[in-house]
Every structure is written in C-alpha cells, then in structure tokens.
Amino acid sequence: MRILTTKLILTGFAIAVSFIGISIFGEAVAGWSPKKPVQFIIMAGKGGGADKMARLMQTVIEKNKWSPKPLTPINKPGGSGAEALVHLKQAKDPNHTIMVTLNSFYTTPLRQPALGVDIATFTPVARMAEDTFLLWVHKDSGIKTVDAFIKAAKAKGKNWIMAGTGSLQEDQLLTDFLNADYGLSMKYVPYKGGGKVAKQLAGKHANSTVNNPSEQEGFYKAGTTVPLAAFTPSRLEMFPNAPTFRELGQDRVYFMQRSVVGAPGMSSEAAAFYQGLFEKVYKSDDWQKYRKKKSLMGDFLSGSALKDYWKKEREIHRSMLKKMGAL
C-alpha cells in the first residue's frame, strides 16, 4: 500500500514536472531544439577554406546566441572527406550531427563506392554559398589575356605547370576543361591546399592556377598575380577586367558549393531547426559581408530544392570524372 502511494506521488510529480518543462520550453523556443552540443563536422582540414567558413558560421551563431547548445567543430579531412561522410552516415545521434561540405561531397562517394555512401539519403540543411574559380598567372609572365595564355601554354606544351589542390578534384577538373577546350597539354601538379597553390604561383614555381578569389586575394592586391578569366556566368565585381569564359565562347561554368548537410535519419523537426538556424546565419550582416568580400555567389537553398541541386551536381561530376577516366 505504501509502495503504491509512493509510486502514485512520484508519477504525479513526474507529470507535473514534465508539464512545467513543456510550458517553459514551449515559450522559449517553438518546436525542436538541440538537447546537447551539436557535432559540427568539417569535411576538410584545419585552416582551409571550408574550415574558415565553418568557424565563421559557428561564430555568428555563438555571437547571436541562436542555438541553446553550442556547435562543436570537428575536422575530419581523412580520405578527401571519406571519413567525414562515413561518420555522418553512421551517426549515432543524427539529430545532433551536421557537416560543412564542399564538392568532394559528390566526387568522394563516386570514386570510392566501397564506402557505401549515398548522398541522396543525407538531410539537406542549407546551401550557404558557391565559391568561384578564376584562371591566374604571375604578372611577370606578361600575360594579360586568355589568348596570350593559350599561346604561351601551347609553346611550352607539357612543361607548362598548372598547380592545384588535390588530385582528381575541382582544380584538376578545370585544368582538364582548359586542356580540352584549347588543345593544351598543361601538366597538373597537385598540392595539399589552396594557400600552397597560390604560393607556388607567386613564387613562380608554377605557371598558372585556378584558385578561388579568397586564396589569391593577398597576392592579387599586391599586384603579384593577375586573373585572366572567370568560370562564372557573369563577371565578378571584384575583378571587372577579367571576362568570363562564356564571353570568350567556351561555356565553362563551375562552382564549389559551401553547404551544410545533416546526418541521414535526422528527424524532420530537427532538420527544420537547423534549416532555420542557417537561414538566419545566411541573412546575418557578417555572412553577407563575407560573401561580398570573397566574391561568393549562389543563393540560399534548402530542403528539397537543395537535394535536387545535389542530385543534378552529382550527375555532372559523374560524367566529368568518367571523361577523365577516373571512374
């Protein structure tokens, strides 16, 4: 009898507590919110472009106190992001696991089918930007136009060095575009990060690169390197003198996505929370300023629109890798 009374009292107490809990929570934030620190996986190493952006997003969220629990950045660059993708796929708590991603999101699962990663199962959160690419040369080369570039690169044949980030990734895809479009045979030499690639050009150890604006910014401002043309649909504000390849008659447009993705199996309430969170980040002054400064393009995308974008991009990458013989 006494046991039953205790049980009843305890149950009543528990119900009362949960009611109070719900009402407090209900007022504070509508719907789902993280119950513990969120794993914020970065699909690249510390100090790279993806890492810098991830840390900026984290900072904006923290500064404005938009998340009741902090985002904990964890770098997982292993295997061109293979490790990060598998980590996300096997996430024990999909509601508290999100990732900052780039184009290896498409290429790594394509090139390493053994991982068993299907990006269509991942939860779309937000596309925050698309980074742009330009063709760069050293100012001492005297090259100012794409025509002059083609002439010089043709003369040097396979001794023309194109430095780029990683192997069978974005930079090499672009190098292949140029080789195919203009009948060149530039030699592609891979380096570990965009900063090192930029330095190879500034130190004249390479003849050209296809860096992002943020990677060449310092050297460009000092007048050491020159952008010849952009792989974008329209000219970039920052480089008004560099035409697009489209203007030059080659329909070559290529972007690097900067997106946030959630683990497969994330609940729709949790997905809605993160989508709202990153939309706020996207609209923040800090992010808009950063986009402008780094010549970023690509509007905010989320939900099924983002998933369709991924599916389309994956097919584009599949055919590009096939052409290169990498699949």
Binding site: G79, A82, K192, G195, G218, F219, T224, K293
Partner: protein
C-alpha cells in the same frame, strides 16, 4: 629608424590595459594548454577563436599570439616531468628532458627549457622586426626542390651523426616512413595502406599518436619494469648553489641556443614546415656539432636547449609567411589566418602597409608575451617539481590517463587511442631490443612533407633527378645532406684501412 618608430607605437598599443591583461591571460592559458598532452597551441587557438570576437581585432590577435607563445613554453613541461610530449612541438624535448628528470635533474631541465625558449623567442622576434618583408621573399623562393633538400638534410643529421647503431636507426626511420604514408595520397587521390579497411586509417596516423604511444605508454611500462614501482622520481633539493651550478652549465650551451634559434626561425618561415620539424632538426644539428654526441638521448642539457630554443623561434617565424604572404607556416598559424579573415583583415604583402597599427601592435605584444611567459613559467617550476615527488606508482596512473586523453583529443576518435596503445607496447618492445625510437618520430613528422615535395619536383622535371643539384638553393643543401648520409661509410672505411686509428 622608421622601424623603431613603428615599434614604439606598437608598444603603446600592446600596453593598453585591455591588451596587457589579454597577454597575461593568454600566456597562462597557453601554458596549461601546452602542458596538457595532446592539446597544443593548435587546439587552444581553435577553441578560443570564437571568443575573440568580443574584442577588437588587434586585441584578439594579441591574445591568440600570447596563447600560442604560452603553449610553446608549456609543451616542455609535461615532456620533461612526465615524459609525454605536451604538444607536437615538444617531442624532441622528451629525448633528453625525460632522462634528465629521471636522473633527478628535473629542475635543471625545466630551467633550461624556460630560458632557451626565451632566448629563441627573443632572437626570432628581433629578426622578425628587422627583416620581415625581405625574409618573406626568401620563403617564396623555396619551391618543392628546396623543401625536399631541406628534409633530406634533416634525415641526414639523424643518420650520419648518430652515435647509435646505424642499421637500427635506418630501420627506425623506415618504420616511421611507412606509418607516415598511411591515409590519402594527395598526388594520386587514392587512399593508401588502409589496414583491414578500417575507416580510421583514412586520416592517416597522426604523429602525436605515435609519439604519445612511444613516450607516454611505452616509457611508463619501461619505468615500471626497471623500478618495480619503488623508485621516487625526484630527489631534488633546491638551494642557491644548485641553481648557480645549473645556470653555469646552461651558459655553456649558448652556441647551441644561438644556432637552434636561427635554424628554428628559418624552418619556421617556410610554409608547410612549422615548429615541430624545426625543433627536431635543431636537435639533430646540436647533436652533430657537439663534442660528445653519445651523451645525447641520455640526459644532456643541450638536448633540451636545442629543441626549446628552436620551437619558440619557429613559432614566431611561422607568423611571417602568414602575415606577409597569407600562407600559414604551421597548423596553428593556419587557424590564426582564418581568424584574421573573419576579423576583416587581408593578410598578404599589403598588410604591413595598410594595417600598421595591427602589425606593429602584434609584434610589440610578442616581445611582451615572451617576457611574461618566461617569468610565469619559472615561477611555476616549484609546482611541477612537487608533482614529481609523488611515488611512481601514482604518477604512472596519471601518465596513463593523460596519454589516453592526449591521444583522443586531437581527432576525437577512439581509433587513435587503440592505435596509441599498440604503439606503446611496440615501442616498449623495440626499446628492450635497443632500437632508437627518435628517428621513427622524426620520419613520421618529416615524411608527409618530404614525400609530396619529392614527387612534385620529379613530376615538374619529368623525372629528372638532377633538379635537386642544379638549383642555387637546393644544390648545396642536397650535396651536404648526401655527404652527411655517407659519413658513417667513410668512418667504417677509415677504420678498416687504418686498424689502429682509434
């Protein structure tokens, strides 16, 4: 004169109350983060980066730079007292710091580390102040060929001049090289040596995992076996006479301190290298130039002075390409660079012209941080010595736990912890068989720099190996490295030809 004007302006900025407080705070926090195994300046700077948005950019970088500096000092503390490298940059400090502590000379080692750090820091900041822009252009001239030549030289100092068994040294280097090649090969884009398809090998073998395994776990097992748990670690009684004697002995190592500071600084300014290779190379060079190399690795003060002077010099050096070229010289500066971008500063050749207050405030704060770090560090030494008075049976448990945390912290992956335990057992067994393990650690640090540099060079030259000899900077370095590598062979021949020479 312009420099002095800028510098004094910089001091006014550094000595503003907020900035001064941040320097002190940064140094203390850095000291403890550095002393925690596994956590180094990289983790400290990464964790605290978002906090810095509460203050203006100049104050923010001053704080992070002070933290960076404090961590460089702190790394030596656990290397010496516990035998676990506190940070990757302090691995070489364990080589001699730990044996010194076991001999009962922990105080000597700690003082040597603190003063050498101060010395290395000071020399490098002076070089930085005077010659930042011209040095930046030297860093640009270093291509793949030069980087490879330099790495070859680093290996050569370890092989050619080791008093140890040469075949065993080479074996140890090869093991380290194999471990360093695990993970994604950036040249082909293919994963390599993914044992049993375990996904954890995708990120390669972090060299801290190897170093903490060998020096934390392995060393602990070794000490337990030797002492059977009865040994007291430290018999230190500090008195004035002992301090004076220690300082006298330290003064004799000034040549090592000078050369290590310069080596550290120059290795530091090369993009991609950073403080860890700088410290290891200085250790090799100190051993090479000393009269009694056989004492190294067994508790020689010079073996503590060299890496500590070098890693502090290198940490300043690494800021140079970051500020002037926008290229990080080390993982920590890579994060600082990210911070600068978020603060709205554009690193690069224009920074020294456009943002003078920022640049010179930072430089002046480096002087201040260096001074505070040495004072704070020395005043904490009695505390560290008191820790060592614990019986080893208790200390062993602490070392074990700290090693586990240190293995887990950088990647937050249990895979690395298991691997570390495996390396601990392996390291212990190799040690019983009298294999030198420092070369393996050297190889796993330098391997990932040397291998791509070699392949990039050969790709550019169409496989022509003469590029290493024909370029003005790489040529002499390569030749010296080869001579050093062949030195043991010459010695052997000399012994055979003139049997009574020794």
């Amino acid at each position: 004169m312009e420099i002095i004007q800028h510098l004094s302006d910089g001091f006014f900025i550094a000595f503003e109350p907020l900035n001064l407080a941040l320097i002190l705070l940064g140094v203390v926090v850095g000291l403890f983060i550095g002393a925690m195994p596994g956590l180094g300046s990289v983790n400290g700077v990464a964790i605290l980066l978002p906090m810095t948005f509460l203050v203006p950019p100049t104050s923010a970088i001053i704080f992070l730079a002070a933290l960076y500096y404090g961590a460089m000092y702190g790394g030596a503390i656990s290397s010496i007292t516990l035998g676990i490298p506190g940070a990757s940059t302090a691995v070489a400090t364990t080589f001699d710091g730990r044996p010194l502590a076991l001999k009962g000379d922990a105080d000597k080692a700690l003082i040597a580390a603190a003063l050498a750090s101060f010395f290395g820091g000071t020399i490098s900041i002076v070089l930085f102040t005077g010659f930042a822009p011209p040095l930046a252009s030297i860093a640009l001239d270093f291509g793949d060929q030069e980087i490879f030549a330099l790495m070859l030289l680093a290996f050569a100092t370890f092989v050619g001049l080791s008093g140890d068994d040469i075949p065993k040294t080479i074996f140890s280097i090869c093991i380290g090289m194999v471990f360093s090649s695990v993970g994604l090969d950036i040249m082909s884009g293919e994963p390599r040596l993914i044992f049993f398809d375990i996904i954890g090998f995708m990120h390669g073998i972090n060299f801290l995992v190897l170093a903490i395994g060998i020096y934390g776990i392995g060393e602990m097992m070794w000490t337990i076996e030797v002492s059977r748990g009865e040994m007291l670690m430290s018999k230190v009684v500090i008195n004035l006479e002992r301090i004076i004697n220690n300082l006298k002995e330290l003064l004799q190592t000034w040549k090592i301190a000078v050369s290590s500071s310069f080596v550290g600084f120059f290795v530091g300014i090369l993009p991609a290298a950073g403080a860890t290779p700088g410290a290891l190379m200085s250790y090799g060079i100190a051993k090479m130039t000393t009269k009694n190399p056989e004492k190294y690795g067994k508790g020689e003060v010079g073996g503590v002075v060299a890496p500590e002077a070098a890693n502090n010099a290198a940490s300043t050096g690494a800021m140079l390409p970051m500020l002037t070229l926008g290229i990080p010289g080390s993982p920590t500066t890579a994060i600082l660079l990210g911070g600068m971008v978020i603060w709205g500063l554009v690193p690069g050749p224009r920074l020294f012209v456009d943002e003078t207050a920022f640049v010179w405030g930072l430089i002046a704060s480096l002087y201040a941080a260096n001074l505070f770090a040495v004072i704070i560090n020395i005043s904490f030494i009695p505390l560290f010595l008191w820790m060592l008075k614990m019986p080893f049976t208790i200390l062993a448990a602490i070392i074990f736990v700290l090693s586990l945390v240190g293995g887990f912290a950088p990647t937050q992956d249990m895979h690395d912890v298991w691997l570390m335990l495996l390396f601990g057992v392996g390291g212990y067994l190799l040690r019983k068989l009298d294999y030198p393990l420092a070369p393996a650690v050297l190889a796993i640090v330098l391997g990932p720099i040397a291998e791509p540099a070699l392949r990039q060079s050969l790709l550019i030259s169409n496989g022509d190996i003469t590029v290493f000899f024909t370029r003005p900077i790489s040529g002499p370095i390569t030749v010296i490295a080869i001579i050093l590598l062949l030195l043991p062979l010459f010695k052997l021949l000399k012994k055979k030809l003139v049997p009574n020479a020794t």
